[in-house]
């Protein structure tokens, strides 16, 4: 797979494009981080994206402090305060049993980020390892791994995730399992194509001739060249995981009540449109902001590292 530098990166003033596949690992260790950081700060997408992501993470981590009514997160009802429009006391209004929407949105970010951490935290290492193995060994190892990948990729993610989550009885855990068991496939495919294109490189050959063992080959020579592609993909994936997770809970296959979940809040609130619009709109905007942040970050990183992730 070819990896042309994107036109924008060239025009952004960096006159020396990085060579295909990144720098050789031995040289890379000596390159100053400062140059990367310099270019990062000049990239508007990366800056805005990381700012948003940091904000989201901050809100999620410090939820108990930021939320105005932390008690409304667990089993709490106040029927007489239901359907209150946004006001100074309830920034985003209240929902159908009287809980403060702002508080639940803030805590909802926790669920979203937890989902991202767990799903990507398991899927990425598994996918990367499998991709390395498939790309390095080739032959029947490659065939088996890649064909299994193909089967899993043959069904749209949402459909598979829906079926799996329902089969495992809906809960946050089953949604995590369902998504993680599908997500590794993309990383496998990505790493596989990078490794395959690197197999012929000189430094790889020379390392092998010098007697490097498999582990060294995989993790010291091949993997570092994939890091930039992986980081771009992870950033973009985070947004995508949130998107699909929200879709799943919108359809009713996520957390059990009363845990606050953004997709579920949008779905619950949709019953009361158009009058009590705040119940759906604010959680929806929150989802949008999170996805926007990760997307911008991913785009910025992609421009930065000059990689192509299909």
């Amino acid at each position: 797979m070819s990896l042309p530098p994107t036109g924008d990166a060239l025009l952004q003033g960096d006159m020396t494009p990085l060579p295909k596949g990144g720098l050789p690992s031995t040289l890379k260790a000596h390159q100053p981080w400062r140059r990367t950081l310099y270019r990062f700060v000049r990239n508007p997408a990366a800056v805005v994206g990381s700012a948003i992501v940091l904000l989201v993470v901050f809100v999620a981590v410090f939820a108990p402090v930021i939320a105005t009514h932390p008690g409304h997160v667990g089993s709490f009802v106040n029927i007489r305060e239901r359907h209150q429009p946004p006001s100074s006391e309830h920034l985003f209004g209240t929902d159908q049993v009287g809980r403060d929407v702002f508080t639940r949105v803030v805590y909802g970010y926790r669920v979203s980020l937890l989902l991202v951490l767990v799903v990507l935290g398991t899927a990425v290492p598994v996918g990367v390892v499998l991709g390395l193995l498939a790309g390095y060994y080739g032959g029947w190892v490659e065939t088996i791994i890649m064909r299994v990948t193909d089967v899993f990729l043959a069904i749209p993610v949402l459909v598979m995730a829906l079926a799996l989550t329902a089969a495992l009885t809906p809960s946050l855990t089953s949604a995590m399992i369902a998504l993680a068991s599908l997500w590794w496939t993309w990383h496998t495919r990505l790493i596989f194509s990078i490794v395959r294109s690197l197999r012929g490189e000189e430094y790889v050959e020379s390392a092998r001739l010098l007697g490097a063992n498999t582990l060294h080959m995989l993790f010291r020579e091949l993997l570092p060249n994939c890091v930039s592609a992986i980081s771009v993909k992870v950033a973009l994936d985070a947004g995508f995981v949130i998107l699909i997770g929200a879709g799943l809970s919108f359809l009713g296959l996520g957390v059990r009540p009363p845990t606050p979940d953004l997709g579920m809040m949008v779905s619950d609130g949709s019953r009361y449109l158009p009058d009590m619009w705040w119940q759906s709109v604010f959680p929806g905007l929150a989802i949008l902001v999170a996805i926007l942040g990760f997307n911008l970050l991913g785009d910025g990183l992609r421009d930065l590292f000059d990689v192509e992730v299909s």
């Binding site: 089967v151 043959a154 459909v159 329902a166 879709g247 949008v266 997307n295 299909s310």
Partner: protein, 341 residues
Amino acid sequence: MAYSSMLLRRLGWSVVVLLGLTVVVFVIARMVPGDPARMALGPTASAEQVNQLRSEMGLDQPLPVQYLRFMGGLLRGDLGNSLLTRRPVVNDLRQTFPATLELVLLTVLLMAVTGVPFGILAARNKDGWFDNFARLASLLGVVTPAFFLALLLQLLVGYNVAGIPVLGRLSADLRFTADQTGFMILDGLLAGRMDVVGDAFRHLLLPTIALAAASIGQITRITRSSVLDVSRKDYVEAERAFGLPDWVVTFKYLLRPSAIPTVTILGLEFASLLGNAFLIEMVFSLPGMASYGVRAILQNDFNAVMGTVLVSGVFFVAVNLVVDLVLGFIDPRIRLRGAPA
């Protein structure tokens, strides 16, 4: 010559993938909670009746045997009966799939007709106001969850503009069923009912926009960047220097190479539309296969779940196959090498 061998190979792998798909679907269906025999007979049936149905359905056999029965039925075109509608899943799918396909096809049309031109125009207007507007709109389209956009469209447009309906496929008082092809618009045309055609279009307006938004954004961005890449190439510069008119450069020399990433992304988006269709159909209450599937999943109707996932998978694989073949046709490198780059 290499093309036909590539075609055969891709076809072969598709079959293997589909077989693997049946195994996955079968395993998932067996994991769904609930006793299918009990649910088929209803609450008033006796224990003997339930047990009898269980052995008729082969549920007391070991799993590999059940799988073979399932495959046998599949090859005969028998996907079992739905627990909710009490009739063959194949019939249900035959009724609902065209509705989903109609939505998806219209969406693809919208995507191609807006996304590609927008991308080209943005590239040519680079850094101008249209370019910035297009990039912003694309970004918003990509990051907005489809179901949220659907709700916003309902809220802002559907409830406020009288002529645009918020739900359903056809107004109830038009008394028409799409029983020929399953496509409301096509059947309306075939029956000469222009009122049906118009009404069906208006019902599909908001769902199509909601479904297409993310893809249009993606396509615009990809088209834009690939056009920019190609136009930077030396030979294009040379053509311009030689005085070839702009439109010749655009249509004859730019489009074909920049088509490759565009067609790739169109193919990928087309197939992934099916996933988002599940959400859109629920929000707009469209009686398509996707909402049928969601209801089946929520109600543990496992035959219907298997059928829906299988059809989705086959559709996905078929579309990817077509896209790869089209790419092979456009890109001689693929044709000669026998595989995508």
